[in-house]
Amino acid sequence: MNRRPVGALPTGLLVLGAIYCLLPVSWVLISASKSPGELFTLGTLTPGSGLLENVRELNAYRDGVFWRWMLNSVVYAGGGALLSTLVSAVSGFALAKYRFPGRNLIFNVLIGGILVPSVVLAVPQYLLFSKIGMADTYWAVLLPQILHPYSIYLARVYASAAVPDSLLEAGRIDGASERRLLGRVALPLMVPGMVTIFLFQFVAIWNNFLLPFLMLGDDGKFPLTVGLYSLLAAGANQPSLYNLIITGALLSIIPLIALFLTMQRYWRTDLSGGALKG
């Protein structure tokens, strides 16, 4: 092999990028440890002594509504991503492994959904949900986020690569029904790709602000994003509430960062290779 001189400039640029990306995260980590008094007096990078007190105060805020938001986010993102992954996987399998009249039309129409900006959808979705009296419910946030055209596209690509035709043929010769082939042959082979789709959908729903912001009025149903926004809107003029907002922000990013660091090998944007490499 060639000698590999380490370029100081490329490494320096990358590390600069890393520092830029870590800056706000480390700031919130340090700031959450400061008591309300320390927040404005201690140096930016000096940890304070108020972390536990801040967490206790956040627990007490409106009878622990913050943890309710966390739980709601888990329900919306977990439930939504699970349903979304199943729908995408089954659709992707059908589009990849069957030839039938209308296949291209259905695929193109479904995929065309990628280009529809969510603004044309979120407002009328709210109006339609309120017409049937379901606007301020869990369903109003959960249901519209199940269909995800790009996930169907990814699932189709993955099914083409991961499910061999010969295996389906063999199953058919043995007399297995198509539903059985889907459940026992195709889906198990597609699991690694489905994990990736699940993760991306989980993050997309967890991070979504517009839809729940429009749909929900009752703060007991808010996900974290809308809850933290309401906390900021209430506390922006009261510096005494800043430590509460900062602590909430820190606690709200811990679950996703944990998910992200533990599931690293599944964070891929390209599923055409079939099997996942580490």
Binding site: P5, V6, T11, Y98, V123, P124, L127
Partner: protein
Amino acid sequence: MHRRHGGARLSAAPYLFLAPAIVLFILFLAVPIGYTVHLALRRTRVSGLGLGKGSRREVFVGLDNLRAAVTDDELWAGWLRVLGYGTLVLVVMLGLALLFALLLDSAHVRLARFSRIAIFLPYAVPGVVASLLWGFLYLPSLTPIGGIDFLSASAVTYSMANVAVWGGTGFNMLVLYTNLRAIPRSYYEAARMDGASELAIALRVKIPILVPAIILTTVFSIIATIQVFTEPTTLRPLTNTISSTWSPLMKVYRDAFVTGDLYSAAATSLVIAAVSLVLSFGFLRVVRGRAFGEGR
């Protein structure tokens, strides 16, 4: 090509498997779009004194609402702000994403794994929280960088663009990096043998191969940027330099939920959708023309 081994059974299965997606598509995509078009073409007319039932009727007004949306000064001001903001975000975010992807892929860097994870990390931070963190970092009473008012009228666009760049670079970097890793090494071994520098390989071999992925990320970023809403809405409580109609989507929100004018809101959202379709298809056309021109 006929594949009839399954007989009649085979023909129903794919439709059944696709049924959930099709039903969801109709309920949560087609119907809302249809309803938006319906509203955009109508308006309430008040007859008489506007009292009592039946005095307020929904009437068909054709393209009036759309005409009003297209000629609305407030909306135009919003478009101009988003144009400046969006150009900045697209160029800096995608430029950095490409730079970092190429650096990670080159053989000459240390700390690549650490940097890759750190740069992708903001993807795990919701836009609301990112705006909130940066918003506090911008506040004069908390900022570690003195002497600049990040939330002043002249700086707020840059400050907001910074939040979007911070949040979006990592994901786009990952898309481009994944594409780079898929290129067989043998592609540039030859160039390396000939003594080509890493920079030359990046510019002459890697970037041309990446063009389709760059186009894809650009189109997705254009669509997302036109709909900017979360960042200005979250930063608004911290400053008075962001108006309630800062971006076109914020105006839709105000029309629909604050002033209660659903018809204008529907018309404006159709205009936003049209602009985003025209821009993404226009961009595709331009780059396609270019790419083919170069290929000959």
